[in-house]
Amino acid sequence: MRGPTATTRDETRVLIPCGEHQLSAVSTRPTTAPNGVAVVFLHGGAANSIGRSRLYVHLARQLAGMGYHSLRVDLLGVGESTGPEPSWRLAELATHEPLAVVDWLRGQGLSKYVLAGSCWGARSALASAPAFDGLQGMVLFEPPVRDIEKGQVTASLPGSQFVRRAFTKRVLAGLRDPDRRKRYQRHVVVKARRLLHRSRRPDQARADRGFEARSFIGPLTVLVERGVPTLLFYGEQDRAYEEFTNPAAERLTELLERAGDLVEIILTPGKFHGLGQAEVQRITTEGLEAWLPGRGGVGSPTAESARQSS
């Protein structure tokens, strides 16, 4: 039976040791019979454990009524946590935090959990996930797909797409503007450097076929092989969704075909990024509530049985 939506009376503020620092988090208890599964929320850049539009607060309190514990976490250097501010670079993901959180959950008697992360937090959760035994599911809110550094969005496009973009009307018109011209020159320089770097590592370049997404596809492959159900949210207009559906992402396409029902995608209208529409939040809540049951809770198939059945 569904319990009431949780309030602060069902919540506790906690501090979780993480190396020499402490993570601040809010723990929400179920308001009905507990199903033994905790949902961990890891935010992305420009947010904290509250989430844009209070998304994590809302989700945590709703899920409590379905028997889920949850923990919404401030990453190091964010919210009330201590430590330095994250770089928000894909090359420097928050991999210490999920480990610390999972340790803390185990200490509370919760050995089954679902990791949910948004954008950079999603990539951090994904990078950490293969190390966890009790993982019952992954929820990735608009995870970036390609391995790109800040300032290299254009330069990291596959060669043919880079050239196509260079000859669009907008870019050609922009050549008249000195600032834009300077920017385009920088893209070309970065692209040339990347090509040079790749020419020195031909095996890797061949495997990627110009679409570098190993740190996304790698852990996702492990999850698929382990039979961990994964739910992805994207907006039709998100840059990350454009990456996700990029024709050059052959390895990703193959992986998704192999995964079958294990990987589900919920597509929202407009942009998911930034949660700038109430409609997106509604779809997210309903999608998660419909997907979660059966992800390791009491009386539902565990990842182990899912693995056996596959």
């Binding site: 309030t7 602060t8 208890r29 420009a46 844009r52 920017r183 207009q237 930034g274 949660l275």
Partner: protein
């Protein structure tokens, strides 16, 4: 773990090096409680400060700045109370139930929490953006209380107009069919009528209730603060340039009424209503908020000024 908590109601962290502790908790006597944090110097505090946060996306954007500022002030002997309004952050309540009066009542609850927890006799108020209007209203009830306004909203109506413009801008980014049938963008009056009839409206993902809109309409920072003289610090966080005419008028009014007013600029680059700032030169999304170092201009300005006005120390 079961539905009964075995965890304590609040959690405390002690920073021995910087000589303060912070208590993170839910508090308040009513049905709906507030989330908050009290930053308490390890030595007896010289004074207290209640921080009234901004609203909607600006609340999230400014969150870490308030944490850093509070920690820096606690390390300098000032006890600080931060809190989230009901309907915002980790507090209870729904955003559509917010009113200007409920925001002020929450600031009062936070003030009581600060004095109970620390015993401070002198309390100052700080507010960022819309929080400045709340800070001004609550400060006006405390004779001579010092106030700090960070990039304040000078008129509630203008704040909502900016929000509705942001809503229209976001609407333009949506796929065709997202706007009205003729492609025209709705007017502010249209939004207000819609809000009146439905009770709330979605502004770039946040719920703006008619209760808050209606109860804030017509309020200005000058009117809310009243004419009883007090020390005022205004910190501008924008990209520089001369202060706007509204701020100049507010400053002139306060000076005429005998206020001790300082207007300072701390630089920075903010797109307040939006989640992220787009730095086109770097072709990347720059996430906010940025953490504040102890030598950040905002921390330095506010702590030096408060030190002067609350403890008689050296001011700016």
């Amino acid at each position: 773990m079961n539905t009964e908590s075995t965890l304590p109601n609040s959690v405390e962290r002690v920073d021995e090096q910087r000589r303060f502790r912070e208590v993170i908790e839910f508090f308040g006597e009513g049905r709906e409680r507030l989330a908050g944090c009290t930053h308490i110097p390890l030595d007896p505090p010289v004074a207290g400060l209640v921080v009234c946060p901004p609203l909607f996306n600006e609340y999230l954007k400014n969150y870490r700045r308030e944490v850093d500022l509070s920690r820096a002030l606690a390390a300098r002997g000032v006890a600080v109370q931060r809190f989230s309004y009901r309907g915002a952050g980790n507090s209870d309540g729904a955003p559509e139930d917010m009113t200007f009066e409920s925001l002020c009542a929450d600031a009062q609850t936070a003030t009581r929490r600060l004095t109970e927890a620390t015993g401070v006799a002198r309390v100052a108020f700080a507010g960022t953006r819309f929080g400045a209007l709340v800070a001004a209203t609550v400060a006006a009830r405390c004779e001579g209380a010092a106030v700090v306004f960070l990039e304040p909203v000078l008129a509630a109506d203008r704040f909502f107009a900016e929000g509705l413009r942001a809503k229209n801008s976001a609407q333009m980014m949506q796929p065709p069919g997202g706007g009205s049938a003729d492609g025209a963008l709705p007017s502010q009056q249209h939004f207000v009528e819609f809000m009146k009839s439905t009770g709330a409206i979605d502004v770039v993902g946040y719920t703006l209730g008619y209760g808050l809109y209606g109860s804030s309409s017509g309020r200005t920072l000058v009117d809310e603060l009243g004419s009883s003289p007090r020390p005022v610090l205004v910190v501008r966080l924008g990209a520089g340039g001369p202060p706007g005419r509204d701020l100049e008028n507010a400053e002139a009014t306060w000076r005429r009424d005998g206020f001790d007013v300082h207007v300072e600029s701390a630089g920075g680059r903010e797109l307040w209503w939006f989640a992220i700032s787009y730095d086109t030169r770097r072709e990347e999304v720059t996430p906010l908020p940025r953490g504040l170092a102890d030598d950040d201009p905002v921390v330095s300005l506010v702590s030096a000024w408060l030190s002067h006005n609350l403890t008689g120390g050296d001011g700016p």
